[in-house]
Symmetry: C2
């Protein structure tokens, strides 16, 4: 599943925004999303699964709870895809500064 397909859904984006602030249990996520979108626990759980399967989030068990965390790999793909457009809004940034700021070379070759 392409990164952008995953991010195309507002509920999934909201969940990721929440996870960006730190780990959260499934119940926490359900509470927030339910309040804001008015959908069922089932629907939220399904979206969490999509995020897991697509590699945007990871889970660990804590008793009967499931603790979700953001998994940055796929989000960096999006960041990389944007590279081809950065010249449009960062026209006068020299090459070295770009390399330093975005850690591009290392990232690309290391993993």
């Amino acid at each position: 599943m392409h990164a952008f397909d995953v991010l195309g859904d507002p509920v999934r984006r909201r969940i990721l925004e929440l996870l960006a602030t730190g780990e959260h249990s499934s119940g926490d996520v359900v509470a927030v999303v339910q309040r804001e979108f008015g959908i069922t626990q089932s629907a939220v759980s399904q979206q969490l699964r999509i995020l897991r399967d697509a590699g945007f989030a990871s889970v660990r068990a804590d008793g009967t709870r499931r603790i979700y965390a953001v998994e940055p790999r796929r989000l960096r793909e999006v960041d990389d895809w944007l590279d081809r457009f950065r010249a449009f809004w960062l026209p006068r940034l020299d090459a070295l500064a770009t390399e330093v700021a975005r850690g591009k070379r290392k990232r690309r070759h290391r993993e």
Copy 2:
């Protein structure tokens, strides 16, 4: 229409990739997309319209041709949305370097 909804479609992403390399006529875009996706001129034209309407692309007339160009505004929105995740893959980059590299403060306040 949310930026990510627009980018959720592979044809639209491909068109933007093409426009990232410079202006192209509708016909050029149709040729490339048709070869790679096997869809009709009509379908491509509809996608171009979506990109226009959503502010991802602009058009100008050149005789009977329509010349498309990428419009960076909406793509920067995506870049901005990613800010909240950058700490995950740029953990030791100091604040000033980030500001310089991403031109964030200026961008946010100017428009």
